[in-house]
């Protein structure tokens, strides 16, 4: 029987209450084994109910204890590194936090709540150290004691199969924390449970209210676990100075990453390469020289135009005279006519002329239609010419003048046009030169990147080679400014947040058959592809995760793409692709229905006019964009765009996109869309020449979103998978929890695959293509968010249903996971039936 906990539950947060209730549930299972006396299927449904209900309790306990022992060993390694003094404590504390989190969750699930609470102390203290809420030395001091208690709990479990009977260890730890001014309840930016209110559990009956438990003196502890509370003012050797490139630096330096002020604002100056500057001057001078030709051509056009205007004016005057003359003549002949318009008069005149029988005889007709047979004008024989002939003569001269002026104008205009085209070409050259002036080689970033790598934990622990190729690639300095923190994030994360190797996760290449360890290789390889840069940042070994979402945000600022793959060395490579000039993208302007859209040229492999062979499906851009279907003439050929997506490196499908028409290839300045206008697969907008809005598409993302929507809307979409057994991939770094899930699912038709970390899960995803991914958040190498982000950005994995299975219970984590594309979120400990129900709900076509 148990008593109510001696605390007021109303004082606890919802999160703590949820955890507490979960623990209560565990307790009730253990205290009432009869209640778990269910059929086998029901037994399997209780995956977190402790060793008592498991089919192989001894095996499970051994798995648990082995795992905790490994984790504590790993913690000790990290503590040793901290004791040596290190410039990168955040990485060490992050490792401690993760290990503490793991032990807290696992031991809580098994029912060892004292150990779970002590592990939560590790997690909280490490978190506070990471956020610079406590000094690293203070954190180290506290963690040293906490780790000893954790070891003691483990030794008790190994020896007696039960935790220490009383709370003195934990109470003493709290005294130490108080002496060190550590407040475990201090709010953090994270959401982990603060000090867990001690629940009642077997063997841990709290003292009756009002009866204080006597605190043992330190000497009552076993000698090896004695704890000597030390005030923070007399801290031991942790105060040692840490070595840096410049000598030493006190350990008390703030842990928060330094703000890179140089990138905080627009730079006041840019550095310009001399050859770019020379080119600009040369092209500008040529452009200037062209001004004279342009002015001359303009003047010629102007002169020709004035001549034409003069000829036109003369012609109009003559036309008026001629018309008046004819009108008077006609008026005398046709008194009944009252027309006043010269035009009408002329019409009458023409009509009369046409009806005049003399017209056919020729002379009058020739007045209006001069022919070559007409006699030459003779200035010496003027008497034979009438006034009408004189007027006609003048009219012809005026017409000739007009024709001549018109020809001159046309010629002048053509000259001007040619010069204008040339001028525009030179202007483009100057513009390009101006853009190039902002470019600088990638090598300008290398000193600081090399510094990041060579001062990292890895570099100080072992031989590390940093190789760079293609650093002569020139990139806009704005892009470099954005690229620099991105590359530093990758390098810092992967070379500092070192997860200690444990016996269960041997690191490749580390030491084989007693040979010398292979040097750790980090490489950076860049190459320019048209207006873009392809960049690989490679690590010869597995690297810790946690930065994927930050990187995704940073790469978005660059209008680029990011992929992560295992490389030939067995490690990890980050593949980045981004424009060399910020905002300017070379695009293919295409038409689909009545919409004009842009596709980055660098994403396109080629264009075909017949659908290429191959198993990969052909997508209609019209359908991807949910545009109405249009009638296509039979036999009409529509262009097919073969995409050159990064997914190809992952062995993904070759995307083929059917469009209505290719209009042009253009270079445009792309602007990001406001947040409320952002849609999957639309990466930016451009204002077209007609003032219309053109959308820039990311076809791979568009296809992924489309497939995801289709899978949601139509269960039959995945019906082709009905014949094979459902595969479920469990990605969790806790062997105990993986085993528990296995036991839950052992009586189901599901085939279960296990992954020990995010990277292994990514590898298995490609090979096994599971239907469901059960994903923990806290994992080494790639954490759950990283993996979720990668999976949701790869169209190949769009059909996979992702269930987060984590002890992170806050809304913040849940929202983040759902935003990244998780389908469901379960909090450990989670009843097995709930897990099964969730799987069935996500895969309704398999429910039967």
């Amino acid at each position: 029987m148990h008593e109510d906990p001696p605390f007021d539950e109303s004082e606890l947060s919802a999160e703590d209450l949820a955890i507490l209730h979960a623990f209560d549930a565990i307790e009730s299972w253990e205290m009432n084994p009869a209640q778990t006396d269910q059929p086998a299927a029901d037994s399997a449904n209780s995956i977190w109910e402790g060793t008592a209900s498991l089919d192989e309790p001894d095996d499970m306990l051994i798995i648990f204890l082995t795992e905790v022992e490994e984790d504590i060993t790993a913690m000790q390694q990290v503590m040793k590194r901290l004791a040596r003094g290190d410039a990168t404590q955040p990485g060490h504390f992050a490792a401690l936090r993760r290990l503490g989190h793991k032990i807290r969750g696992t031991s809580g699930a098994v029912g060892y709540l004292k150990m779970s609470e002590v592990a939560s102390h590790v997690e909280i203290i490490a978190e506070q150290a990471i956020h610079a809420m406590i000094q690293p030395a203070t954190a180290y001091e506290a963690l040293t004691h906490t780790l000893k208690v954790l070891e003691f709990c483990l030794s008790e479990l190994l020896r007696d199969n039960q935790e220490p009977a009383d709370d003195v260890l934990i109470d003493d730890l709290r005294t130490i924390y108080a002496n060190l001014s550590i407040d475990l309840d201090q709010p953090l930016s994270g959401d982990m449970p603060r000090t867990l209110a001690t629940p009642s559990y077997p063997g841990n009956t709290p003292s009756a209210p009002g009866v204080p438990t006597p605190l043992p003196t330190p000497s009552e502890f076993p000698a090896e676990f004695q704890i000597s509370p030390t005030p923070s003012t007399s801290l031991p050797p942790v105060q040692a100075l840490r070595p840096t490139a410049n000598g030493t630096q006190p350990l008390t330096a703030p842990l928060a990453p330094p703000v890179r002020q140089e990138f905080a604002a627009e730079p006041a100056f840019v550095r310009v390469a001399v050859h770019h500057f020379d080119n600009l001057i040369r092209h500008t001078e040529k452009l200037f020289e062209q001004h004279a030709s342009m002015d001359n051509a303009y003047k010629q056009v102007e002169t020709a135009f004035q001549d034409l205007q003069a000829a036109q004016a003369r012609f109009q005057r003559l036309e008026m005279l001629f018309s008046n003359s004819l009108a008077q003549e006609r008026l005398s002949q046709l008194p009944e006519s009252h027309t006043s318009s010269s035009l009408i008069t002329r019409i009458f005149q023409n009509a009369a002329t046409r009806n005049d029988p003399r017209r056919r005889r020729g002379k009058s007709d020739k007045t209006f239609v001069p022919t070559k047979s007409q006699p030459e004008w003779d200035e010496l024989d003027m008497e034979r010419y009438s006034e009408k002939d004189m007027q006609l003569r003048s009219l012809r001269e005026a017409m000739a003048d007009m024709a001549s002026s018109s020809a001159r104008l046309k010629a002048a205009y053509q000259t001007l046009y040619v010069i204008q085209v040339e001028y525009l070409a030179r202007t483009t050259l100057v513009r390009n030169d101006t853009l190039l002036m902002r470019q600088a080689p990638l090598s300008t970033l290398m000193p600081q990147l090399r510094d990041v790598v060579m001062t990292s934990i890895l570099a100080r622990e072992q031989r590390l080679d940093f190789e760079i190729t293609g650093d002569c690639v020139e990139i806009d300095q704005d892009v470099l400014t954005l690229l620099s923190p991105l590359l530093q994030t990758i390098l810092e994360t992967c070379t500092n947040n070192v997860t200690p190797s444990t016996p269960s996760t041997p690191s490749k290449n580390r030491m084989q058959n007693g040979a010398q360890p292979q040097p750790y290789r980090v490489w950076l390889a860049a190459r320019a592809i048209s207006s873009e840069v392809a960049l690989e940042v490679g690590f010869s070994r597995e690297v810790p995760g946690g930065a994927m979402q930050t990187l995704r945000e940073q790469i978005r600022l660059l209008n680029g793409t990011l992929a992560l793959e295992r490389n030939a060395a067995g490690g990890i490579s980050f593949f980045l692709r981004f424009p060399r000039i910020r905002g300017v993208v070379q695009c293919l302007l295409v038409r689909v229905a009545d919409q004009h859209l842009l596709i980055p040229l660098s994403h396109i492999r080629r264009v075909a006019y017949t659908a290429p062979d191959g198993a990969d499906p052909l997508y209609q851009l019209r359908a991807l964009l949910d545009l109405p279907a249009a009638h296509v003439e039979p036999g009409a050929t529509q262009p097919v765009i073969l995409m050159q997506a990064l997914m190809e490196q992952a062995g993904g499908e070759q995307l083929k996109i059917l469009i209505d028409e290719i209009i042009d290839e253009i270079e445009l300045v792309v602007k990001p869309l406001e947040s409320h206008l952002q849609r999957p697969g639309v990466t930016g907008s451009v204002i077209g020449q007609q003032g219309n809005v053109l959308l820039l598409l990311d076809i791979a993302e568009l296809v992924a979103s489309y497939k995801q929507n289709m899978a949601h809307q139509d269960p039959a979409y995945e019906a082709q998978g009905l014949a094979r057994p459902l595969k479920i991939l469990v990605a969790d770094d806790s062997a105990y929890l993986r085993r528990s899930v296995l036991q839950t699912l052992q009586h189901t038709p599901y085939q279960v695959i296990e992954a020990r970390d995010g990277l292994e899960a990514l590898d298995l995803l490609k090979v096994e293509m599971p239907d469901v991914l059960l994903l923990d958040i806290e994992m080494p190498y790639l954490n759950g968010y990283d993996l979720l982000d990668i999976v949701r950005h790869n169209p190949r994995f769009s059909a996979i249903k992702i269930i987060m299975l984590t002890s992170r219970s806050s809304d913040k984590h849940m929202l983040r996971a759902m935003e990244l594309g998780a389908h469901a979120y379960l909090i450990k400990p989670s009843p097995g039936e709930k897990l099964l129900t969730t799987i069935r709900e996500l895969l309704p076509q398999y429910a039967s």
């Binding site: 947040s675 409320h676 206008l677 907008s685 204002i687």
Partner: protein, 111 residues
């Protein structure tokens, strides 16, 4: 949502004001004789398509009378109204813009 338009070099969403407030689910179409009003707050710029009947000098607060509960026949309209001037609703544009941005965010397509 009517679509996207260019405004000062950037793309903005264009909403049919009447369709938005009436909660119409049908695909909006540009009304003949409508004008584009550009509404902006610190966070969002949205084009509002509406038929302009007349323009008024700046209204005094006392000339705006409070809204009768039955006047607004849609919840969306009721939440975006300051009051009535003669027989016209006076809209609270800043707060309406935030709701509009959310509405646009939820829309599957741009039109």
């Amino acid at each position: 949502m009517l679509g996207l338009a260019a405004w000062r070099g950037t793309a903005i969403a264009v909403l049919d004001l009447a369709a938005y407030f009436s909660g119409s689910q049908t695909r909006a179409q540009l009304r003949p004789g409508s004008s584009l009003l550009i509404a902006q707050n610190d966070y969002v710029t949205i084009g509002l398509s509406a038929v302009i009947i007349s323009s008024l000098p700046p209204l005094q607060a006392e000339s705006i009378r409070s809204l009768e509960p039955s006047s607004a026949n849609s919840a969306r309209l009721a939440s975006g109204i300051i009051g009535m001037y003669e027989d016209a609703f006076v809209l609270d544009i800043p707060s309406t813009l935030i709701a509009m941005a959310q509405h646009i965010k939820m829309a599957k397509t741009y039109a």
